[in-house]
């Protein structure tokens, strides 16, 4: 018993101060990409050609990057002869609509909170059921990590629960494999209304690298309404947490 107590003292207090303080991200972290029109050669489309998921398109000389398809692999950045594409350390990536996931010349608009009535219901207590539907266990692992003492999701009143019957909503990962379609639908139906749906990871938004495979459904948004999109392959846990807190109006 004394050993256990000694270990407790030694391990210390480890919960990050986010959102009161900015998060510590790896130096090489690849967040929200940006395109510099001044450095882009008008008639070149090397970036679009290099993109494995067609997330990047160029029309009328302007580049648009759909974060709902982007793997953050930086192949476009490497392919660009003029270094017009850079990945910034902007970790705030979650949006409320599919359209606002596209990075173009519009200013960045972070996810807005749920409406007042829904926030009254879930703002201080949100129970989520996680469903992995063809996910590769990276999004799952970095969602699960929010439960550790490092992030301590519980302090925000957010908790992952064992049954959809106990849940206020779903957090879905993976491209929704055909073999998980029915199970996801049943889990959604078993969750009492009103409910929120959060999709985490590029696969769950668009199918990601598996888009177009006959074995998958190109993401969850094609089958059920989505309230929050969290892009990334996988998103950093802070990106997921930031999205959840914005949805609940805990970060303005």
């Amino acid at each position: 018993m004394l050993r256990i107590l000694r270990a407790r003292l030694r391990q210390g207090y480890r919960t990050i101060r986010f959102p009161e303080q900015p998060p510590v991200l790896p130096e090489k972290y690849m967040g929200r990409p940006q395109w510099d029109a001044g450095k882009c050669a008008g008639n070149c489309s090397a970036c679009a050609g290099a993109c494995p998921t067609k997330a990047l398109s160029k029309s009328n000389g302007a580049v648009a990057i759909d974060l709902g398809r982007c793997l953050f692999c930086t192949d476009c950045m490497d392919a660009c002869p003029g270094k017009a594409i850079q990945f910034t350390t902007e970790y705030r990536l979650a949006t409320r609509t599919r359209e606002t996931l596209v990075v173009d010349n519009r200013p960045y608009a972070p996810a807005q909170a749920l409406d007042e009535k829904t926030r009254q219901l879930f703002g201080r207590s949100l129970k989520l059921r996680q469903v992995s539907a063809g996910g590769c266990n990276a999004c799952e692992a970095d969602t699960n990590v929010l439960n550790t003492v490092g992030f301590d999701l519980g302090r925000f009143g957010i908790q992952f629960v064992a049954s959809p019957r106990h849940a206020d909503g779903l957090l879905i990962t993976g491209p929704v494999s055909k073999n998980m379609e029915l199970a996801l639908r049943k889990t959604y139906d078993a969750t009492p209304s009103p409910k929120v749906v959060i999709v985490v990871g590029t696969c769950a938004i668009s199918g990601g690298v598996f888009e177009g495979h006959p074995e998958v459904n190109n993401g969850a948004a094609s089958t059920i309404p989505v309230d929050l999109f969290v892009p990334g392959c996988p998103p950093h846990p802070i990106t997921i947490l930031d999205g959840l807190l914005r949805l609940l109006g805990r970060i303005e």
Partner: protein, 504 residues
């Protein structure tokens, strides 16, 4: 015994040099060799005109060599499984993918629940118009008035991938567990054919996201074998550092999860965080916690500076000290050890006969480790001795992971301290046509086997992935026999197998 061509791990040979045998000789060849200590690393079908070629990759661990042979079948052949139990899952896969019936297979069922890749040929003569429902199939049933069946999944209680588990129980005691998977099937192998394409490396990194480095290393090795090039020493060192970081992160997380499953919260909470600290060290190398975009054919995409390397070592030591402090609590606490000891035993004989790999095999005394048996890259010059245990229970699987963490930490320290200079990424010549390449990598769950076959244009005619979980899921089922059903989470976590790595 007839000679078979010998292949080093991470090399290629011409397709025509792989001897083709008639089915009876092919069977004898494998039977004899397995009897004399070879293992089936991979056994799979691939289309060949109207027929299916079955290619066997046998590992001769004591000699550090691989042996390949092939046969051709039309729609059925006498199954290997009755004589070589470790073929059982492979033969179910062959049946499902190619509509070939391995006659005499004792339990021939689908493993991923998709339609056959050959039109109008189904191993179970299923009607093509009727959709295949995942895991809707016959299950082994124990009959009796006092017997009950427990079905769990696909959606589980925690944040876990989906799978279906059927327990045959007498009271609390599990008489039999059957595991059916396939929910995570994304059709990756089929999508690889005709490649490489701009997506190929990304498929490799998402085969099993928690094994991004392991699978990406195997693919890089395959591509380099087909291009007949060797990556620079610095690249090899960095790949090994990333692979061992992946191992310590996952082993640490699993030791914490084992503690969590028996309600011992101190270690559960510390290790949960410390796993993340190891992932953050990987992110120090490449910006991503899972090592995405780090490993590519030809080397690695990021080159750490000298301060990066120092920083890595400092953080590694600090994290490891905290892990030692957290994990030692397990061994010092009798209520923990009484739950670990004697739970979920897999005997050495069963582990060997079923072809288990990785920590699950080593915990049962089967001394297999690709890093020491068939070393590749820097493991050829930096020895990393394997860790075995004898008891085959949860305690043994926990100990093996703990000793592996310690050895890997030492290895990372050594390699980081003496990083070779030179380039990290070099051009890979185009793949040679009509060749076969095999790459084995010891991932944190065990042996990862990738096999690539090129066509006349040097494109991928076939690509086969065998995740360690493919070998080991049946081991988990076996470990549950005679256990209390409440021990399932504990046993499950001691294996912690991949669903998507199996389902592909």
């Amino acid at each position: 015994m007839n000679g078979l061509p010998q292949l080093h791990n991470g090399r290629a040979l011409p397709w025509k040099d792989i001897p083709e045998f008639a089915v009876p000789e092919f069977r004898t060849m494998i039977l004899e060799r397995v009897r004399r200590g070879r293992r089936i690393s991979s056994l799979f079908g691939m289309p060949d005109g109207d027929e299916i070629t079955i290619l066997a990759v046998l590992a001769h661990d004591s000699q550090g060599m691989l042996e390949l042979c092939r046969t051709r079948v039309r729609d059925r052949y006498p199954a290997l499984t009755p004589d070589v139990p470790q073929a059982h899952w492979f033969e179910r896969e062959i049946a499902e993918q190619w509509g070939i019936v391995p006659e005499g297979h004792p339990w021939l069922k689908p493993i991923r629940f998709h339609t056959s890749y050959v039109p109008n040929r189904d191993a179970w003569s299923r009607d093509e118009a009727t959709p295949i429902e995942p895991c809707v199939t016959n299950y082994f049933r124990v009959e009796g008035e006092e017997i009950h069946e427990v079905a769990v999944g696909p959606v589980h209680a925690g944040i876990i991938e989906p799978g279906h588990f059927r327990f045959q129980c007498h009271g609390e005691d599990v008489l039999h567990l059957e595991i059916e998977l396939g929910y995570q099937h994304r059709g990756i192998e089929r999508a690889l054919v005709g490649g490489p394409s701009s997506r190929t490396a990304h498929y490799m990194e998402t085969l099993a996201g928690d094994t991004t480095i392991g699978h990406a290393t195997a693919y890089a090795s395959i591509t380099e074998a087909l291009g007949d090039m060797t990556p620079a020493p610095r690249a090899q060192a960095l790949r090994a550092i990333a692979l061992e970081l992946e191992r310590v992160a996952n082993h640490t997380g699993d030791l914490g999860a084992l503690a969590g499953d028996i309600g011992f919260l101190p270690t559960a909470s510390y290790c949960g965080r410390l796993r993340g600290d190891f992932l953050n060290i990987t992110a120090l190398l490449c910006g991503n916690r899972f090592g995405r975009n780090l490993i590519r054919p030809g080397g690695v995409r990021f080159d750490p500076t000298a301060p990066d390397a120092d920083n890595l070592r400092i953080r590694l030591d600090k994290t490891f000290d905290a892990v030692r402090n957290a994990v030692d609590l397990l061994w010092e606490t009798p209520s923990v050890m009484s739950r670990f000891d004697g739970t979920g035993i897999v005997s050495r004989q069963d582990a060997a006969r079923l072809g288990l790999v990785g920590p699950a095999a080593r915990a049962a005394g089967v001394d297999l480790d690709v890093r020491s048996d068939l070393p590749w890259g820097i493991y050829q010059s930096h020895e990393l001795p394997s860790v075995t245990f004898q008891t085959g229970d949860v305690a043994a699987r926990a100990y093996v992971r703990w000793f592996e963490i310690q050895k890997s930490i030492e290895f990372i320290r050594d390699v980081t301290g003496a990083l070779p200079g030179g380039p990290v990424l070099q051009e890979v010549p185009p793949p040679v046509p009509d060749h076969v390449a095999v790459a084995l990598v010891e991932g944190w769950r065990g042996e990862i086997c990738h096999v690539a076959v090129t066509n006349g244009q040097g494109r991928l005619r076939h690509y086969k992935v065998t995740d360690p979980s493919f070998h080991n899921w049946f081991g988990l089922a076996l470990a549950l026999r005679g256990q209390q059903i409440s021990d399932f989470p504990l046993c499950n976590k001691s294996f912690n197998l991949s669903y998507c790595g199996h389902d592909l």
